[in-house]
């Protein structure tokens, strides 16, 4: 099971309803377009028509947020069936999901919730990724989470946990650089050391985003993966560090809350493109 076709190693943007008509009309120079899978799990209407038009013009990345791959129970098969239908219809270049859970006891908790990193949870996540990949008939990319708490039960380090999932399932990885910065600040580790341990050869896509900042109960700086502001300087610096180590990779700027103007989004996307050019040179591999 391999991802034989990959997204272009350029910057893309997330598709927002408020921008879609202008994007189709003005055809900005973007490397690819990413959607949240769940927003397009509808029977019909303008969303699907717009997505068809977008798909005919740009490579598409389908990013799921509701499959609960990190959950204790297996993925919801009804939901997985919906994802398969979407993937079969729109033939995206990349399909990704999160190392997180969001469903419990038949209830959906709309967040990306953390799990302990142990041999048992690893085996479980591997089973879930296997099932998803077998159902979809293709490899997915799994995203590293942003976390605010860790678990007393943890026996594995996060990069080793993700690398083991990739090794055992053949899945690729989605490296969210903002999540690394957020988790590093929240748990007090060195983000560059985390990146050096991470299997960069598995990275099929990178995410960048803005974070929000608060304090925890002990008054320590607590970063929140908020997706509502420009990419922070320390995130861009770590991104450039990744590019120098890994070479150019398809990169998405996420901005999902307080969605800005298309111009602001394209400015962020252009910054990522310029970083790729500056760190990796003009000669991007085919």
């Amino acid at each position: 099971m391999s991802a034989s076709v990959t997204l272009p190693p350029r910057a893309g943007i997330g598709l927002k309803a408020e921008h879609v008509l202008r994007i189709l009309d003005e055809r900005p120079a973007i490397g690819f377009v990413e959607i949240h899978a769940e927003n397009y799990m509808v029977d019909g209407g303008p969303r699907l028509r717009h997505l068809e038009a977008v798909r005919s013009r740009w490579p598409l990345s389908v990013h799921g947020v509701g499959l609960s791959i990190g959950g204790e129970g297996p993925p919801d098969r009804v939901h997985l069936g919906r994802l398969k239908a979407l993937v079969d219809r729109f033939r995206p270049t990349a399909v990704s999901e999160h190392l997180a859970w969001s469903s419990h006891g038949g209830e959906h908790l709309p967040d990306l919730l953390p799990l302990p990193y142990t041999a048992a949870t690893l085996a479980r996540v591997v089973d879930h990724v296997d099932e998803v990949q077998q159902t979809l008939g293709r490899a997915i990319l799994l995203e590293n989470p942003s976390t605010y708490v860790r678990f007393a039960q943890d026996t594995m380090e996060e990069t080793a946990f993700l690398a083991a999932i990739a090794d055992r399932t053949g899945c690729g990885l989605l490296l969210d650089v903002n999540n690394v910065v957020v988790s590093a600040a929240n748990h007090g580790f060195d983000p560059e050391a985390w990146i050096r341990r991470f299997p960069l050869d598995r990275v099929g896509e990178i995410h960048l985003a803005g974070y929000a900042e608060t304090r925890d109960g002990a008054g320590r700086r607590l970063l929140i993966d908020a997706h509502g502001s420009p990419v922070a300087p320390e995130v861009e610096a770590l991104y450039r560090f990744v590019l120098r180590l890994a070479g150019p990779r398809p990169t998405l700027v996420e901005w999902d809350n307080d969605v800005p103007s298309l111009e602001t989004l394209l400015w962020q996307q252009d910054r990522a493109d310029r970083a790729i050019l500056a760190e990796c040179g003009a000669a991007v591999p085919a």
Binding site: E38, N39, M41, V42, D43, G44, G45, P46, R47, R49, V65, G66, L67, S68, G71, E72, G73, P74, D76, R77, H79, R82, W101, S102, S103, H104, G105, G106, E107, H108, L109, P110, D111, L113, L115, P116, Y148, V149, R150, F151, A152, Q153, N186, H187, G188, T214, R215, D216, G217, A218, R220, L222, I224
Partner: protein
């Protein structure tokens, strides 16, 4: 799928997430190894904001009517008792209009629940399956006798909100900027359709509402017309109005079917 191990890490986390009165689970750790309530609260806030955001997206006119602060208060109260069963948040909140109808602090706005029903109908129409609406030409091909016995199949996007308040006019008034006037304060039937790409909201003439409601539940046309008591009702005009709005996809028995 229901996961039933109530003692699991996930069950403990989920319970603490949904109930701020519970202690932070013992196994959650900050860098010093302690369970920090403010860290868990980040997740609680994200869940709460996502649910409120989903309701804001589904009920924009209700939000405009009552203002952001009141809407958030209603939304949070609703979300505390009616949580999503599915990751499809655009389906979340179908129970919200009924909740609003019984929400005492909103008693001063008696039409709020019906405006919420129009918002809900709009969203259902927006994501409904695509279908070509029944055309007047196809209907005109039926002889009068066949027409009288025929039923019409509603388009997947179609719904009708019948209100003792001018819910459609209020809804429309709050979709414009500035909010427009509501000229005539009486009950309305609000027809929501999506014949093609965009959702249309029509306030039906009062004399046609009972007929529209009967036809949309599948009753034969003559029977639906016979139930109307308003002397101003005109069968032909009412039927043409509903069909040309794009409210139906087919006629049964289909053209050419044996009677």
């Amino acid at each position: 799928m229901t996961w039933t191990d109530v003692h699991s890490t996930e069950a403990r986390f989920a319970r603490a997430l949904l109930d701020p009165a519970r202690p932070v689970p013992w196994d959650l750790a900050d860098p010093a190894g302690h369970a920090d309530a403010l860290r868990l609260a980040v997740h609680r806030n994200t869940v709460s904001a996502a649910l409120t955001g989903a309701l804001e997206a589904r009920f924009p006119t209700v939000r405009r009517l009552v203002g952001d602060a009141f809407f958030r208060a209603v939304a949070r109260t609703f979300a505390a008792i009616d949580r999503p069963r599915s990751p499809l948040l655009h389906e979340y909140g179908t129970g919200f209009p009924d909740f609003v109808a019984d929400f005492r602090p909103a008693d001063a706005v008696p039409y709020l629940a019906d405006v919420a029903r129009v918002d809900d109908a709009w969203m259902r129409a927006y994501v409904a399956a695509d279908a070509d609406p029944l055309s007047l030409d196809r209907l005109a091909a039926l002889d009068p006798e066949a027409l009288a016995g025929a039923s019409l199949v509603p388009h997947p996007a179609t719904s009708l909100v019948v209100s003792p308040h001018p819910a459609g006019s209020i809804w429309m008034a709050h979709r414009s900027d500035p909010v427009g006037p509501v000229a005539d304060w009486r009950g309305e039937g609000v027809l929501v359709v999506r014949p093609d790409a965009s959702v249309d909201v029509h306030v039906l003439p009062g004399r046609d509402v009972a007929f529209a409601a009967a036809v949309l539940t599948g009753r034969p046309l003559a029977e639906a017309a016979a139930a109307v008591t308003d002397p101003a009702f005109d069968f032909g005009r009412a039927l043409v109005g509903l069909v040309s709005a794009g409210a139906f996809v087919a006629v049964t028995p289909a053209l050419g079917d044996p009677a």
